[in-house]
Amino acid sequence: MYNILVCDDDKAIVEAIEIYLSQEGYHILKAYDGEQALKILETEEVHLLVLDVMMPRLDGIRATLKIREKHSIPIIILSAKSEDVDKILGLNVGADDYVTKPFNPLELVARVKSQLRRYTQLGGTAKKESEHVYEVGGLQINDDLKEVTVDGEKVKLTPIEYNILLLLMKNQGRVFSIDQIYESIWNEEAIGADNTVAVHIRHIREKIEINPKDPRYLKVVWGVGYKIEKM
């Protein structure tokens, strides 16, 4: 049983989130501004915090800064501000994830689950038992078992998808063009650009990412290629 603190000045939103997360079996604590949230954190055991930014008294960004002085619990910022600068600011002050309003309830639930798994299983489960295990954030690929897990949950990939992901995971941070990926996976020369690789990448993203349009692991470098973001 995890305690999740939801903090937003809009009570309707807090209650909707409560409904969704309760259905998943979490215990919900509610706060309507930053100060309340801080107080609850003082008294209750909280495993995850969903935090709005624009709130009276103490806003989400300042609250995150204060919380980070004492707590390392996952913080998901939930904000109407969808600009890149807002996201970067939120993540920089110590939030673990950033979800924009209006949000997809399923996505929010998935992110909550993902953060909790990572948080609670930190240092547990299958560690690097062999050299053939590659890991980025919650994404792990075990080449011995030919197994891919996201936040500990198995993901089913086709052999080609698996090979593409393995190539990118082995070379984290490096950008591969479509031709390079094609040549190394199919072992033949890429004559004429093809979008086959692009389609596979899309499929991989749909399987490993919570929001494929806003990928966390498998990033598109537009006009150049693809890469696994190094974390």
Binding site: D10, A12, I13, A16, I17, I19, Y20, M54, A80, K81, S82, E83, T100, K101, P102, F103, P105, S177, I178, I191, G192, A193, D194, N195, T196, V197, A198, V199, H200, I201, R202, V220, V221, W222, G223, V224, G225, Y226
Partner: protein, 882 residues
Amino acid sequence: MKSWAKKPFTKAALSVIAVGMSIIVCLSGVMLIYKINDSEGKVVGVGESSYEESGAFEQRMGDASRNVLERIRVKEQLEADGKYDPNRLVDVIAYDKDGKISGKNESGLAYRLSDIAEWGMKYNQSDLSAENVVVCEKTDGTYHYYYMDEFKNLLKNNGLKPVFPNIESGAAEDPFAGYGDPESETIQSVLGVLQEGYDLEDTFGMAYAGAKLTDKEGKLLYTDFWAFTDVIQETAVPDGAENLLQVVNDTPELNGKLSEVYEAVINTISNLAVSVDIYETGGDLWTEGNTNYTYLIADRSAKKVYTNNSEYTDFTKLEDNIEALKNAEHSKYVIVKPKLGDFESNLDVSASEWKNIVQAQEIFGEDFVFAAAVDTSYPIQDVFYDGAKAYATYAPYAKIAGISFILSALVLLIALIWLGVVAGRRADDKELHLNAFDRWKTEIGAAAVIVPWIFLMFAIGSNWSGFGYQAVSYYDTDFEYAWHYGNMYYTFSLTAADVAVISFFATFTMILFLIGYLSLVRRIKGKTLWKNSLLRWILNVAVKGWTLFWENRNITVKVILLLIGFVGVHWLMAIFGSAFLILAFAVDVAAAVFLIKWAVEKDRIKKGIQKIASGDLEYQIPCEKMSSENRQMAELVNNIGNGLNRAVEAGIKSERLKTDLITNVSHDIKTPLTSIINYVDLLKRENFDDPKIQGYLEILEAKSQRLKTLTEDVVEASKVSSGNITLEMMDVNLVEMTNQTIGEFSEKMEAKKLTVVAALPEEPAIIHVDGRRMWRVLENIFNNAAKYAMPGTRIYVDLKVKEAEEGKKTVLFSMKNMSENPLNINADELTERFIRGDISRSTEGSGLGLSIAKNLTEMQGGTFTVYVDGDLFKVMIEFPAR
């Protein structure tokens, strides 16, 4: 500087010292100038230790020797057999030749010596009263001379008759024909011309050319006649004749040599007159017993001795006598012989100078001895005695005067410097204090000092007779003699009144000087010398007046005025010539400089206008050094630029405000929208059985999703259209990106059964864009196709690298599809929906996708074209290739 140095007491004391020193400087200066170095320069020298060493002594000894030698020469010249005979004959021609009086009339023209002397004393070179002499050429080529009176009488009595061949032959007209008495008129006019010394032909022209003279009967006597003008008054009668012309007419040797005769006469009378004067008035100045000066002069070739010492008269004992003269007690001697090497003297004098003194009189040949000595014990009270006494009296004063002059001048200088340094300063502060006088205009202050001084000088000059200062002969009391022969010096005495006047002058001058000098120093220190000057004020007023006049003219008037000046100077040069050449040149140079400067400034203004026109609104034309016209223009252009810049900045600001407004509104919309979406979703999960409710929920969900899309797109479209985003430009392969995009959309396309037919080059097509923004462009147009293309049709994607003009390459991306619904809208409206309010907004998306794509493309330097032909929808994106 110590404060006591600036105290008023110190200043007053210094001023008093300065005045006192100036008095001493003036007095000692006067003494130095007048007493020590008189006009002859040699009464007392400062650096000498005794009178005998002084220049004065040397000068007097030289003067005495000259005087003695002159007397010997005169005596030799005038005396015959040791006697002066006034009746002795002087042959003028012979005397003029060798300077000796022969006593006989050899040339024919001779006068008595006393007559010559008298004549010479009266002769005055500038006396032109003597009548002209008429020279008549005889038929045999010799001449006859007439005094004017004589000639006049001859003409009037018809003894001579003028004849004019040109009149007689009719070649010229008689100028007096038709007069009452033409003959008398002719004689009058001829005489007039001759009297004035003019030429007949020059005066009357052809008519009188070749005039001749005949006697009463018409017999030709003279073939020509003219006036001789260099005539002198005769006051003496020549030996054996009545007058000079008679001698010349009667003596064939002198015929035709009248001018030489006159020259000889003038020479003789002026020389002999002086000699006789010296001889007669010389007195006994240098005779034994009258002077301490002893001379012993010998002409060895004539074995003759001249001396004023009776012991030295024997020529045979000459050498012994010279030794005696040399060795006499207290003797200061000079012995001159023809060779400079034989010169002897115990004085510090120049051998060549003394040789010149001796030889100047030309008495002796090349074999002479000149010995002169002064007995410096001065037993006789002569000029040397006087000189020694004067020297003894004044030399100490001279030295004191010299020393006091230098010392007091030094002290004065120090006082003045000191006063200058502390001028305007006070002991108790560090400020500069100007007094009321210092605030007067500079020129008025200067006049206030100088004018009283000039009045003072004038007053002293007109009321004070000057120093006791008079010329005195060295030799005797005959002032006229001294004056005539330059043998004199000046005595000088300083009375108490003189001292008072000089002191007054010095005091007054120094006070005025101090006032002016200290005020000048204070003005310089206070930097008001020029600032507070009348001249500056006048210049300022003139400049201001001119500026006021000039600034208010328009350019046309100015150019006309300048042109008038320019052309005017050149006309002046053309009319008056080279005097204006330099001015014209200067004007040309000025015009050239002006025109070049003008042109440079015009170029700058043009460049500025071009810059501003091309959008660089912050550009400022550098106009500080421009001439006023161009400067005004440049400033106006800069103002236009500034105005435009302000307008643009205001526009940008309002755009930003608009974007901010839209962003903030969208934030406010999103919060309630979140609840709507969430609760619609929760409702859906309630599994209503009623299909109607299910239908309503579907609509609610779709519309709330559309609202979500709209709020996001509106913010983006607003930012993109206002340019309010930052781009991260990089090299991007558009082929790769197209493949990636097609991959991304593979499922969406499949869902609508759309086939993407891509024709992409094998080579990379590199463009310089912001990768993520470019993805937004492609995403939007692909989304557009996925939404509106007719299901089951093909979507063609083409990418080409095209050769554009001048070898530049462009990358052309195009996508075309068939629209499911009729396109009742034209291409422009599709991309500009955001700014148009009258278009139906019934479609499923925000309708802003194309608008955003177009704006983003253009922002990154590309072109975005939409082409609609029936149901064919085509998008073309073009970028310059890298």
